[in-house]
Subunit: 244 residues, 2 copies
DNA sequence: CGTCAAATTGAAAATTATCAACGAGAGTGG
DNA sequence: CCACTCTCGTTGATAATTTTCAATTTGACG
């Protein structure tokens, strides 16, 4: 277990020096398993640790006071979670496991120590949070301005693409791993309507479904239907300071 | 013109040393006026500078390919704009002036120089972007899971509160400075429906309207109707490293 | 006074939610 | 191996919300 998950992720952006590798490995010294459905951070609870997701799929969500839930973001191995702890006394969002997962908890002081010693990693983290921000704004625009069908299609594409970043063997067929209720909470729809939209997308010939598996049968058209933009492309990191 | 706008903003969070003040002032050495309606950054254009808003109100937005627009965020003096330039070659969002404004452009290297010299400012910027992120997720949850009326109410409250941060004399009455079309683009509604929701909110006795002015006649109830959370409260910055 | 953007209103249509019911499959305890 | 229970997915009918379209009206300003 030499490389850290998060370092691998940053390594997709720019090459990480051995010294930086070592520093980042300190974030993943401890491991904690999380069962499907369990939360590692709950909205309004006093914040504690930050986490790196090592294995599994998780999500962040907010509860509204009429009891409905909005899923904000899906999380995959190598993602850093709970960054809001850097600013708030109480967590603004809940972090829950969508599948059995393993997380690596660390605390703010560990992070700030690393940033002090390796300024370039601080810059990389800013880049990382800008990418995350762009993904959030895409979702925002989707909720505000696209049809139910487009929003459901966007979730399918997002999940496929992020799973594919981890496992290049995944192509047109993948396991979604979300209930229709969860898709609804991510897209601002009811589970019933998600069901109808999936059926329609299937009838349009864009996907096929079997058990929990989705197959993209017309990826081009699906992307178009979803207004999809890949925010992990088009990066420009030429301005980063030199590694120390 | 001793203090910088951005330093004042960060100064609301924690006290800024004179050395840090001087460093931040370098971000605001140049000034550029922007007329209402003009854009300083356009979606898909090659990114250039970052900016600090010195005067006026601006917004960021995205255009969808059916021609509709989603407003992502309103910007006020002291806000940093165009941070996405840190990650992307092309801008993911458009930045436009809602009123005649003055911006201070600077470039990435200026910023990275400052961060290298003043690690605590880097940490503060992470805090700053977490606050912004929380505001984005609140808006996301509002779009996904709240009624049209609640979303319109939320925009009213957000504008009043942010204007009030700049000018403490503002209380229940303020100038909104947005067209109903702009409110619609922020809330994912049509201008027509925004009009009806404003009327309803007025009929419910929560606000009064006259010319461009809004008066909160029942602030408590308005907050409740909007599900409002103030993300500039409840901060915990005790972990920040010492100033250099 | 004329013009133009913005606000307002009504009526009809489209989208999405709600309610209610049923079916399929996975575990569980007997 | 058989009920039994649960969650999840599916479907139909109906209701609520929001959009669209088409006029007006209002107010600011040259």
């Amino acid at each position: 277990m030499s490389g850290s998950c998060f370092a691998e992720r940053l390594g997709d952006l720019v090459s990480i020096t051995p010294a930086e590798q070592d520093a980042l490995a300190r974030l993943e010294e401890r491991e904690r398993p999380v069962r499907r459905g369990a939360a590692i951070q709950r909205e309004n609870d006093r914040v504690g640790e930050l986490f790196i997701l090592r294995k599994g799929v998780m999500m962040t969500s907010m509860l509204l006071d009429d009891g409905s839930r909005q899923i904000l973001r899906f999380l995959f191995p190598g993602d850093m979670m709970g960054l809001s702890s850097l600013a708030y006394r109480e967590a603004p969002e809940t972090i829950t496991a969508l599948s059995d997962s393993i997380v690596c908890p660390f605390d703010r002081s560990t992070l700030s120590g690393i940033l002090a010693a390796h300024p370039r990693l601080g810059a990389l983290m800013m880049v990382y949070s800008q990418i995350e921000r762009a993904a959030l704004t895409d979702r925002l625009a989707a909720l505000g301005r696209t049809s139910a069908k487009a929003r459901v299609a966007a979730v399918l594409i997002e999940m496929r693409n992020r799973l594919r970043m981890l496992d290049k063997s995944i192509n047109a067929t993948f396991t979604l791993g979300l209930t229709q209720e969860e898709i609804g909470d991510a897209t601002g729809l009811t589970a019933v309507h998600v069901n109808r939209m999936l059926r329609q997308i299937e009838e349009d010939g864009l996907i096929a479904r079997a058990n929990g598996h989705i197959t993209f049968t017309n990826e081009r058209a699906l992307m178009r239907a979803a207004n999809y933009v890949d925010r992990y492309e088009g990066l420009d990191l030429s301005w980063l300071p030199a590694a120390r």
